[in-house]
Symmetry: D2
Subunit: 338 residues, 4 copies
Amino acid sequence: MIIVLKQQASEAEIQQVLDRIESLGLTPTVSRGAERVVVGAIGDERKLAEGAFESMAAVEQVLPILKPYKLVSREFKATDTVIDVSGVPLGGNAVQIISGPCSVESQEQMDLSAKAVHEAGCRLMRGGAFKPRTSPYTFQGLGDIGLDYFKNAASKYNLPIVTELMDVRKIDLFLEKGVDVIQIGTRNMQNFDLLKEVGRLDVPIILKRGMSATIKDWLMAAEYIAAQGNQKIIFAERGIRTFETYYRNVLDVTAIPVLKKETHLPVIIDPSHAGGKAWLVPALSRAAVAVGADGLLIETHPCPSEAWCDADQALNPEQLKTLMKDLRAIAQILGRDL
Amino acid sequence: MIIVLKQQASEAEIQQVLDRIESLGLTPTVSRGAERVVVGAIGDERKLAEGAFESMAAVEQVLPILKPYKLVSREFKATDTVIDVSGVPLGGNAVQIISGPCSVESQEQMDLSAKAVHEAGCRLMRGGAFKPRTSPYTFQGLGDIGLDYFKNAASKYNLPIVTELMDVRKIDLFLEKGVDVIQIGTRNMQNFDLLKEVGRLDVPIILKRGMSATIKDWLMAAEYIAAQGNQKIIFAERGIRTFETYYRNVLDVTAIPVLKKETHLPVIIDPSHAGGKAWLVPALSRAAVAVGADGLLIETHPCPSEAWCDADQALNPEQLKTLMKDLRAIAQILGRDL
Amino acid sequence: MIIVLKQQASEAEIQQVLDRIESLGLTPTVSRGAERVVVGAIGDERKLAEGAFESMAAVEQVLPILKPYKLVSREFKATDTVIDVSGVPLGGNAVQIISGPCSVESQEQMDLSAKAVHEAGCRLMRGGAFKPRTSPYTFQGLGDIGLDYFKNAASKYNLPIVTELMDVRKIDLFLEKGVDVIQIGTRNMQNFDLLKEVGRLDVPIILKRGMSATIKDWLMAAEYIAAQGNQKIIFAERGIRTFETYYRNVLDVTAIPVLKKETHLPVIIDPSHAGGKAWLVPALSRAAVAVGADGLLIETHPCPSEAWCDADQALNPEQLKTLMKDLRAIAQILGRDL
Amino acid sequence: MIIVLKQQASEAEIQQVLDRIESLGLTPTVSRGAERVVVGAIGDERKLAEGAFESMAAVEQVLPILKPYKLVSREFKATDTVIDVSGVPLGGNAVQIISGPCSVESQEQMDLSAKAVHEAGCRLMRGGAFKPRTSPYTFQGLGDIGLDYFKNAASKYNLPIVTELMDVRKIDLFLEKGVDVIQIGTRNMQNFDLLKEVGRLDVPIILKRGMSATIKDWLMAAEYIAAQGNQKIIFAERGIRTFETYYRNVLDVTAIPVLKKETHLPVIIDPSHAGGKAWLVPALSRAAVAVGADGLLIETHPCPSEAWCDADQALNPEQLKTLMKDLRAIAQILGRDL
């Protein structure tokens, strides 16, 4: 940790800073420049409370040196982590396309969806039984029975299922129903009690990025899960909130190479929620594979215009199939399978 | 709802839009301009799924007419709601200052804090026993015992207590310990299961604004609570996330007159978390009262530099007392008590 | 234009709105819903002053129907515009890579750069003689002589040159020195007097997106140029400013398909300024081609670590050559040449 | 400057960093921690090119110690600068309200405006003759003759005039017509050639904050002006661009105490452009004075609904008069005159 002192800091004040560094178990160093005295604090700064030095009169700014995350970092583990999702590898050479409808509506809709997902060549399926809706007056998901419809449909094609968990009290249900991957949604990225609970499971977790979460916030949320023992974490970029209102969110493709540098864990992209419009999905999906994502979450529906939510966002089965060809070709240029 | 059609929409496509409007139980109207056909859909649009029309080929854009929130709106209730917080009115003519430490540390610290809060003339006390920390490696709050320390200290001065709830499983504990106001934090503003649960209680709820929540998102989150029956909701602006990094967040004072126009519920401001620095708190607090807030959440600590979290953010008892005088004078200019 | 009236609007107030619509030369229509009266104003709303109706007591909101831009829109011209840049087509089937150093430093550096750009297979060259630097104390560009070095070097390989114009008083110089494409930088996107002046030229203009310009702002800035007669406009996405601080800007790839839908003009991407780091450039460039950009602006330097500005941003000649191969392969998947 | 090296940096790489520091005229220091080697570079880092160290293989991050601005900083001048605006002091104990219409429309409109501004007790007048409009098809200002109308009207009441300059070629005209304060607008905050030119004048400059300019960007823009000799600079906060769309911009009140700490120059607020609605202006103006602004820019119009631009933004003369009373009372609480 580097502590820059104010220009007018007195010797007594400098000494106070050095004393506090020692009292906190770190080792102080002093460097006197022409305009500023700079103090270093050598040791593990991660355990210090924020503001431990900022509140001292002589301190101008405090610059951390160490990254605040450990278990999820590349420094902790240099090689890529490949997560086994009920037999399907995620995070290795293969790019995995996870597809399915926004929400579970009926057994028939899920059967048709699973067929379409399978026939397009995808190896994982997504779908929501519990939906985080902005309005309390709109469809909130089918709930428990939705998980049954989903698992029934997906099992016929050996597709592991991915679905969102919003409430700690539903964890036992999710395990019982055979959910293969638990998704933590954007709005719960910093629901720390939920993160701690899924951190105690042995189930892969997709951690969606919060609407305005920085890369650091996001890595720290993953660290919450990892610190409890579960290191099967998959980051999912799904667009961030900015000033632009033409499209729902801004897909942050830069986050992919950055996360691949900072963490050993897989990183996927959700182009459907990012753009919010079906016609944007093919272009964003191509960019996602080209930028190096380990997988994609793409919404499909047997009949998009009849979907109970996000009707203008899902691809139909034919569009999914066509898109898969382009994505496969791009993956190959990067030396990957799809 | 207004549906603007594409320039090249055919008569058959226009008819499809009209048919769908009728099939959804609304009444269509058509207006033909020089460059565009515009279709109206008369009726309660709030129950329609998003994207119900956007997915149709002829539709260019869909403009909602009605506001998506009801119970929390000024249209629903024209007069200001005054919430009785264990005898202290919030939302009426009085401006209430809610003060106390970031986190509960010990009985002694809480006793000193309660004394300072009372002596400064504040009538409500805040403090955290369960802390949403960005890092899993830092102090997470004292938990259950913290609530006891807090209630013991506050009771001596008849100060109702305000504290944050992060986990639905802790609700019974909060009721049992006599928490007077439950705070839903920034990171849980769209934790819809938590909102539904506190919506079933008869306890006032402080709903903090999400880091990048729009006014509409925030009102809709309150609607989740209100829809379950609990209309004792207090909005708390605490700064939003922007591109600026000099200060932690940007305090959005414009939100206050806007919310006072849109909702009948009280609106308060948290200048401590917005600025993130004690030296900014007096100026931001003055602005908060001047802009029309119904209350403030101000962090105080008997000895700020020793605080276990956010040490550079809390005022000391003397600073709080001084600030109260200025705030009282500004409130009077607005014809309010403090 | 759609004007939504307040719930309590009186008949007299409604009549006032209708009268004003007529007085402004538009035709009013009225639609009475269960909760709101909605008034339409048929005619060309583009010429109305903003706020013409918002200031009336009965008006709740005003929703424009027509897009505010005309000449640059797809509605005005349905087919893609291909701009002839001194013999090199931009906006057609070919994807053009424009490369070169951040700033012109010397004749030798430009000669080496031109050679590298040519050998990598790029057909256009970029370089700055006038630099918009954040600090007045850093290198501001070589100025006039820089244009000579640049043109000399590029001419040997028949590379048309792209360079930034910051000051209306330099236009004659730019024409005289044979600048092939004038770049309007991010910080001048809404320098309307500059836009008007380049609108009177017969030279292609690259219009970079402002740091927080919406799609609409950007299209309107282009409309300023087009309204003066110059329709040779190339949009350049270069990253937008958000809350994220890990990387300089967030490259907004979604803007590409959106602009291709809204305008007939070419759209290119600058991955170098977006990411701000050379190691990010390959991944972002691949995404840019995959998402459908008509061209890229990539910084190269014969010896990046010795560059006078943005030393950590430029590729070296070898890296550029390698990247071109991947970009060509991706372009082919989209059925394009590169 | 602090340079943090990567964990795996070799001794040879460390030496390269030390060598480069010396070659750039600074003095290196080395500090070896448990996890990282940290190198300091003592000397004036402001002249270094950005990226001078980031491009080296062993470097993880570079942390500047010194602030990049000098002349405008509090370190350079500890006491508040009071600017004499043709006899009216700005930046001292008095809070100055600068009022007038958005744009100059006619002599009569300016006469009525000047009367209203004077009668409300304001001592400075604003008005636009050259308007930066988003659309090329809307009113662009009266131009030269507008300056005459403005000066004529204001002179009767000895009101110094404030008006916006957009084009370097108009500077002589502005001087000739007797403009007392030149305003540099939001869209030109980083129009560096314009900044340099007004830096050579002996006229006070209002420098509006760019739509997404950080505090640092803004101070650096002022440094451009100051570096040319003109230190009569007034910062004007006018709202920043965020994700919120309910109001035009988010007024960033936190910027006021922060600028008062960082710079010796006056800081004012424009509540009219921030909120974009007349009904928001009183609340925002009160907050502005309460937070410590040295002045305000408030739009007034003799008949707001007839204004040629921003009709829903201006106060009428009566509203201005009423507001002045509240502002005066708040200023007095802060020990200031108004």
